[in-house]
């Protein structure tokens, strides 16, 4: 079985996982809309919560993974690490788009404003922009070696940047709700909602993994094709 066949099989698996995960999302929403109580103060608007929060989780996960892989690449210099990092960045960007659209949609009814420059929002936003730049750069640099090294450098820089942006904006007053699940005391969310939230977070993690495998496999295939085209053993 040639590497390219293996890559294709991986891509198919990725597809399967993604498909299943997306079904899961649908399921979560049935549960969210039908079986989960309507939040007292926010009303139906709160339902967006079950996609907003998990996508936030997925996006941040994606970017974090890219950052870590970038460091790893500078160490090992294996092209597959670079491909994986890029794949993770792509998924991260996709999920941040979801996050950055659901957020404001939610914000308008709740906060009465589309946007607020609060710590979490702003850091997400710029993280998103940084990785847009990352992807544009990858599109422009043709030499794979150069592309990998540039990407890694940006990835590492980005990883270090985030806490700073967060801190920066944190020194402003903040509208965005404080963590309500990941906090020392016990979760302050009605059990029903909490369960729904946690399942949807789990589901989105699978979505992330599914997309990641797919993009990674595709990157691998493109890479192998390039080598064949160049007639390299």
């Amino acid at each position: 079985m040639t590497p390219i066949d293996r890559a294709f099989r991986l891509a198919r698996w990725g597809g399967v996982v993604t498909g299943a995960a997306l079904l899961g999302v649908a399921g979560v929403y049935v549960r969210a809309l039908v079986y989960t109580p309507v939040e007292r103060f926010q009303g139906p608007a709160q339902k967006i919560f079950y996609i907003h929060v998990p996508s936030a989780w997925g996006a941040l996960l994606g970017f974090a993974v890219t950052g870590v892989l970038s460091i790893l690449y500078l160490w090992v210099k294996d092209r597959r690490i670079d491909i994986a990092a890029a794949a993770s960045a792509e998924v991260g960007v996709a999920l941040s788009v979801v996050l950055l659209t659901t957020g404001p949609i939610w914000g308008k009814p709740i906060w009465g404003t589309w946007w607020t420059w609060d710590a979490r929002l702003t850091s997400t936003l710029f993280l998103f922009l940084l990785f847009v730049g990352y992807l544009v750069m990858r599109g422009v640099v043709v030499d794979p070696g150069l592309r990998s090294r540039f990407s890694a450098v940006i990835g590492v820089m980005g990883l270090v940047l985030i806490p700073f942006i967060h801190l920066t904006v944190y020194m402003f007053r903040t509208l965005h709700p404080a963590p309500i699940v990941l906090k020392p005391s016990k979760p302050s969310l009605p059990g029903e909602m909490l369960v729904t939230l946690l399942t949807s977070v789990a589901v989105f993690t699978v979505v992330y993994l599914g997309f990641l495998t797919q993009r990674y496999a595709l990157g691998l295939i493109r890479d192998l094709r390039e080598r064949e085209a160049a007639g390299d053993a």
Binding site: L130, G133, M137, V140, R149, V153, I154, V160, L161, L167
Partner: protein, 226 residues
């Protein structure tokens, strides 16, 4: 070590002598400042907004854009006839190239800033003189941060064949902490608050400087390899 400092100085001086000959930094600092000031000035309804309230923002927007143009310049020059290759051949530590460019850019951006500040005083008649020392400290801190990152990224940008667009694309996200910090501090300083009140912001920018100057210097050689 001596070699590093010497080489870095030689490189920085070369860039600066060019700047001295052309005065572009000086001139564009001037023009930029005036334009940004004009736009922001005319864009606001004087009855609604006191100029004082947007002066710091205007100041930093000017710094940012004037600097971005300057940063690109530094490596475009090296790229034109591949002069950078000849530098790489010389028996000098590669980090010397970073420090040289970094120093050159600092002076360049510094000039732009030095030119614009008086203009703000005139336009917005904010009384800076009493607070000048603290103001300069703040500006210096913020500048170091984004010049360091800018130097690293312009070395990447120049090799993408779309340097003009690529540098801002990569650099701008990194400007948030230093700029927001710079702006906040500037505003507070102009309100006459003593630096001692501003420990938080100062520490933030200081930390940012430390982190990214180091990181940029470390990663620079990776970018040069071919």
């Amino acid at each position: 070590m001596v070699g590093l400092v010497r080489a870095a100085t030689v490189i920085a001086l070369k860039d600066l002598s060019l700047e001295l000959r052309t005065k572009t930094a000086f001139a564009s600092g001037l023009v930029f400042a005036v334009l940004v000031l004009a736009i922001l000035f005319f864009s606001r309804d004087p009855t609604a907004v006191a100029s004082r309230d947007i002066a710091p923002g205007a100041l930093w927007v000017t710094f940012t854009f004037a600097s971005i143009l300057g940063l690109n310049r530094a490596f475009v020059l090296e790229h034109e006839q591949r002069a950078m290759d000849a530098i790489l051949l010389a028996p000098i530590p590669r980090s010397a190239i970073f420090w040289g460019k970094f120093a050159g850019n600092l002076v360049f951006v510094g000039t732009i800033e030095a030119v614009s500040i008086p203009l703000f005083v005139v336009f917005y008649d904010v009384a800076v003189w009493p607070y000048l020392p603290s103001l300069l400290l703040v500006i210096a801190l913020a500048t170091v941060a984004f010049v360091a990152v800018g130097t690293l990224f312009s070395a990447i940008a120049v090799r993408t064949q779309y340097a003009e667009m690529m540098l801002p694309l990569l650099l701008l996200p990194f400007l948030v902490p230093p700029l927001v910090g710079g702006v906040q501090l500037t505003a507070r300083v102009l309100d006459g608050r003593p630096l001692s009140d501003l420990g938080g912001w100062l520490r933030l920018i200081g930390g940012f400087d430390l982190a990214f100057v180091t990181l940029a210097a470390l990663l620079f050689p990776v970018v040069l390899e071919d």
